[in-house]
Symmetry: C2
Subunit: 734 residues, 2 copies
């Protein structure tokens, strides 16, 4: 049967015309040829019962399909975005893929019959479908409200078709291809051509779906369109996506939350290409880019959660199926890095394929796996690495160690937020100074069908929703996507070689015309302090007067602030009426008289923000939740400084201190050690900040404001004193 099919295919396609066909390696044009090869089928069959995590995935798959076999599947006319009909079609896609896989591994014909029967019903339904009734975007879907879901469905169902291909009659194949797959490809490549050719994760899914069904059907044009774009000119398509959506060190331009999703089609199609056109050496492309992409994704997590920059959902952790899939394929396609196994152990799942089996076998063979090397690291952004970046400082590799993150990337496309130079700070395994992430409840029908909520635009994406400076109550780029999407911040320097003094600096001149920003974040350890301290120096320079709002969203309970507050206890109003300000209740306000110290309690530690201030500094305490009639937002608090002036330097120490154990009713060190932060001077050449505290602690932090080589000398006068140093930054501890 297999041999016969091979002949038929070769005939149908025409030898020589189809470059990757019969002339290629042994497996080509046998089926299955997508996510399973005949030799992988043999390996998997031989190893059932030998690798517990793979066996678990296999059992789950069997349970899923056996359940589907007895509960007759509906193939309803699509009605809703995330309701019953959408869930049904998604489930059918998953059931079909899994049943196809099981047919190959077990040879049980019931599974093939299930796939065939369901495909017949789709062959009846699909030609009748017009525009999906719940479509909202500019490109309506057909089977689902958006074409993206249709592409995901096709990538799954193409695998099912591939797996049962040899068991179908030519007439059955013809019917499925003519009624489902070809019209669906036509819809994706023609009706949705803009999306298909877009350098974007939706485009990656589209090319992957088309390429996969192309390989399965042996359709050269589809495969070439998938690889090289709808016009097959290389200006779009999978290879271009791989070249443009990642920086040279593997940072994905939308950030980690969407990376874990985008990596699915990238690894999926790479695996399919490898199985069919190994001569393309897809896993070696761009110096093994996909390997770097997976490593970058893992580095962009804290205690298993992705950094919540841009449109992230906080519930998403690295146990998700996309990261499992990408990790398993990275493990098996590259050098089988044993450190990946320790992440796989945490995931406690493997993918249902030969790569998942490889990981499961390795885990079964060893108890001890080296820890994944979470580290301080900088990722550049942009295809050439020149589009800014993301700086990560860690005090250690443990899940409870501190992490300070600065975002100086490009915008991040449709899911980007207007928060140039934002700070996120994690400690004790959770967020301490959080990023809001996105305002959305994925797939929850009551919340606008699970789509992004309007508060995502009106609040979560706005600059004031983030731990960075908002100028004149307007978001970066005045909230204009078209401008923002072409700009980026710039890295200044990143130096994590000294574990006691790690520092990074970035600038932005694009977000607010006429205002130059430089933010420098250091993580400093001192033998006199139990915990590492984050020092944040945010310098703004302008010829014109501005209002600078500098918020810190904090997780935990207010403990104390060293100034008199006027609290709005009986009547409460929003802080403003646009750019996100309309969503912030003003809870209390006050005027500084010197350095401000605000202490809160979070988990088992106290945290104090000590920040340079004087009597021109206004202090605000706000809470998210105004103008939110549908209760779509989380009501989280912020501490904010407001400063008016042309140029200004905010300088802040964030100090964890003491301990609190509610069960033992024990506490200590509730007072901060750091007592004052002062900006001694700030010139074009450099900024000098002094931090003083108990135990005679006196740190002088000197930061170069001009781009400098490591040998460049800097000199800044502050009153009678002159501070000199070499290179980007210097710290003197007394």
């Amino acid at each position: 049967m297999m041999a016969l099919m091979k002949k038929v295919l070769c005939f149908a396609l025409g030898i020589g015309v189809f470059a990757f066909s019969c002339a290629a390696a042994t497996n080509a044009w046998q089926h299955p040829c997508l996510m399973l090869t005949p030799s992988e089928v043999v390996t998997i069959r031989a190893n059932l019962g030998r690798a517990p995590l793979f066996d678990a995935a296999f059992s789950e798959a069997k349970a899923q399909v056996e359940h589907a076999l007895v509960a007759p599947a509906g193939v309803p006319v699509p009605l809703d975005a995330s309701g019953v009909t959408a869930q049904r079609h998604e489930k059918n896609g998953s059931d079909l893929q899994t049943a196809g896989f099981l047919f190959q591994i077990t040879g049980d014909k019931r599974y093939a019959e299930f796939v065939k029967d369901l495909l017949k019903r789709y062959a009846d339904l699909y030609p009748k479908l017009g525009k999906h009734p719940a479509s909202k975007g500019i490109t309506p879907g057909r089977l689902f409200w958006q074409p993206l879901n249709e592409c995901v469905w096709l990538s799954r169902v193409s695998q099912a078709y591939d797996c049962i291909y040899d068991s179908l009659t030519p007439a059955e194949r013809s019917r499925f291809e003519q009624n489902i797959f070809r019209p669906m490809v036509k819809f994706i490549t023609e009706d949705c051509q803009r999306e298909f050719d877009k350098i974007h994760n939706h485009g990656t899914w589209a090319v992957t779906a088309v390429g996969m069904i192309g390989y399965a059907m042996g359709d050269e044009t589809m495969v070439r369109q998938a690889l090289y774009g709808s016009k097959m000119d290389g200006k779009s398509g999978y290879l271009r996506q791989l070249d443009e959506l990642f920086s040279p060190d593997g940072y994905y331009c939308e950030g980690p939350y969407y990376a874990r999703y985008a990596l699915i089609p990238f690894f999926l199609f790479a695996n399919v290409i490898q199985n069919n056109q190994p001569e393309l050496k897809i896993f070696e492309r761009r110096d093994a880019l996909l390997h770097k992409a997976l490593n970058a994704l893992l580095q962009q997590t804290y205690n298993g959660a992705y950094f919540s920059i841009n449109d992230a959902m906080k519930e998403m952790t690295l146990g998700n199926a996309g990261t499992v899939f990408a990790l398993d394929h990275t493990y098996s396609q590259y050098e089988r890095d044993p450190a990946l196994l320790s992440v796989a152990r945490l995931q406690d799942h493997v993918s249902l394929d030969a790569s998942g089996l490889a990981v499961a076998r390795a885990l079964a063979a060893t108890q001890q796996t080296p820890a994944f090397p979470f580290a301080s690291i900088e990722f550049t952004d942009g295809p050439q690495g020149s589009g800014g970046g993301l700086g990560i400082l860690r005090s250690g590799a443990d899940v409870n160690d501190s992490l300070a993150l600065m975002k100086y990337t490009s915008f991040g496309m449709d899911h980007g937020h207007y928060d140039k130079l934002a700070l996120l700070y994690y400690d004790q395994g959770h967020e301490i100074l959080p990023d809001y992430g996105s305002a959305r409840f994925v797939n929850i029908e009551q919340k606008y069908g699970g789509r992004y909520l309007k508060e995502n635009d009106t609040f979560a994406r706005q600059t004031i929703a983030h731990n960075t400076v908002t100028v004149d109550e307007h978001s970066d780029y005045l909230g204009k996507f078209a401008t923002a999407n072409t700009k980026h911040s710039d890295r200044q320097f990143f130096d994590a070689h000294d574990p006691d003094f790690q520092i990074m600096s970035a600038t932005d001149t694009t977000a607010v015309p006429g205002v130059a920003m430089q933010r420098t974040i250091a993580m400093i350890r001192d033998a006199r302090l139990e915990h590492p301290v984050v020092v944040d120096v945010f310098r703004l320079t302008s010829e014109q007067p501005h209002r600078y709002d500098y918020p810190f969203y904090f997780q935990g309970q207010f403990m104390d602030v060293n100034l008199k507050l006027t609290a709005h206890v009986n009547e409460r109003h929003p802080l403003g009426d646009h750019d996100g300000y309309q969503h912030l209740w003003v809870e209390a306000e006050g005027q500084a008289a010197g350095p401000v110290a605000f202490t809160w309690l979070s988990g088992g530690l106290y945290y104090t923000i000590t920040t340079a201030a004087d009597d021109s500094t206004k202090v605000l305490f706000t809470r998210i939740g105004a103008n939110d009639p549908e209760f779509n937002l989380r009501n989280e608090p912020a501490f904010m400084l407001r400063q008016e002036g042309n140029s200004h330097v905010f300088a802040t120490a964030i100090e964890p201190h003491g301990h609190w154990d509610g069960m033992r009713e024990s506490t200590s060190g509730g007072e901060p050690n750091i007592r004052a932060v002062q900006v001694l001077a700030s010139t074009a050449d450099g900024t000098v900040v002094r931090i003083t505290g108990k135990k005679k602690l006196e740190w002088t932090l000197m930061i170069a404001n001009s781009t400098s080589t490591s040998a460049a000398k800097h000199s800044v006068n502050a009153g009678d004193e002159t501070f000199t140093w070499e290179g980007n930054a210097s710290l003197v501890k007394n």
Copy 2:
């Protein structure tokens, strides 16, 4: 040495005068005689290295004292309530106790010297102390801000003294007794006589401290005062405390949070009495009351956390030292119940004494211990069990099973809250409809020195802060402690024999004169529903018109409500100006037109409250946090019904449904199954409620409003229909 001391003591005390002295069992008037006996010392020495949990406690103790040996202890003049000096004296008390223990076990004289040196310094300090400068209460402390802490200190230090007694010269003993112990006892029994004789946990600590040092010094009067009160007439003292603070089934009158604290002195002194006057058979008193008390304490937990009724702190879990101590002594003093071992395994700690050793040895000897039988159970309150009670319905014994709790106890003394008939509901291992607990940050200096905050009185204790009905915006008993403390609700019935229909009912006629309340809470399982449903029927009857506010504080995110809300999006005001209402922001309000359904998301499940309503029912959404200028409160939301009228029945179903998994982006069942709740009739004889929903679900719940025997027949007319049933309640499922 031991024999000599025995003689000296017998001589000093006068044989025959002191009933429990030399005539008593072997160990009497040897030292140590408090929490260690000579034979226990032998046992402990013989078992070191054999029971890991005990070894861990022993190692921790050694590390603690070795650290104290090298870091010279201060004995500062007391200044603060929970700051440096208070923490120092607390730590000294703990170090002394531990060093004494270690001296006995190891024989290492450095430990005895440490105790002696520190006692010398206290002998210098104590006579100089007057009123503590940070005292706030009516009875100022001396070494600490409140006498309670002084009693705890004495109970610890008496053990240290007992352990090194034999190594001291008579002159040293005399000095310590004259300068520290006798004046401290005098202070406690005379200056603080009111507290010493009060039937209250502070009193228990006071009598325990005095009794322990009395036994250690061989002072009969002190011991008799401890046992029988300052006047030694039996109207107060330890035995009276034991008789009056617990109900016959072991419920402690202040609730579980204070029970775990009060049980420390109860078990401590019981153990000391048992070692010195075994003829008192203290562990057998009141039908083994202390055994019941520990079991009741464990039953009053959910997933390890104590029910947060009254002045509870939510961080306190059953791993705390008090519960460890009480559990270990219950295990060893009673029948060595193996189910206690499974709790001990969770605690992962044992007490540093012979009982802790017994538990640790048992755990080391077995891997399998039977689970503690968490169950639906009712506890009566009051010394005779006639002071109301606490009803607990569980859907199972697992940590994730549902639990509904109704509080119909007596007031609970100083730490009681004004919340007659309050409901608490737990599911998925955490609170879903929480009780606020207390407004306090224990031991945190910035928060009023760690004492109860003023918002504890103005909000947390008020009726409106709880899931029960507030009448006319006034708290129960008009918030008057003197009245409240003498009253209690009454149990009506409790029946958990049918796991598919568990039900409890209680009444109150004392909280609001002229308003009779009956609340009935059922937990119902139905094969058509995946989760058990809580049904709540709250009946209020009055001759006069009233305003009834019926709130549900909920944990989670608002999803949907089936009526049009007017949200206060730009300006927000408190709901009222007294009795806790001043702390509630009104976020939104609306008018019902029929049954109201409110859905929120919490953890992995949706919850819907469906409640009978009509166009006379007002709906409010509130959030805690108004009039809180120092940010002392947690900003938690509530859903509230407001009804005006003479009599009214609130009838509500609380249904968990569907699932949500953010990591998998999967959800289902977001719509509730229950669609309507109606009160069909409510008469003096009974109330009939109908609950209808999907899958043709129709439940008719019939509740007897009069006290009835199980055979009593009830009949209620509702329109054309007549409902009849026998006994307290009946459920018809269609």
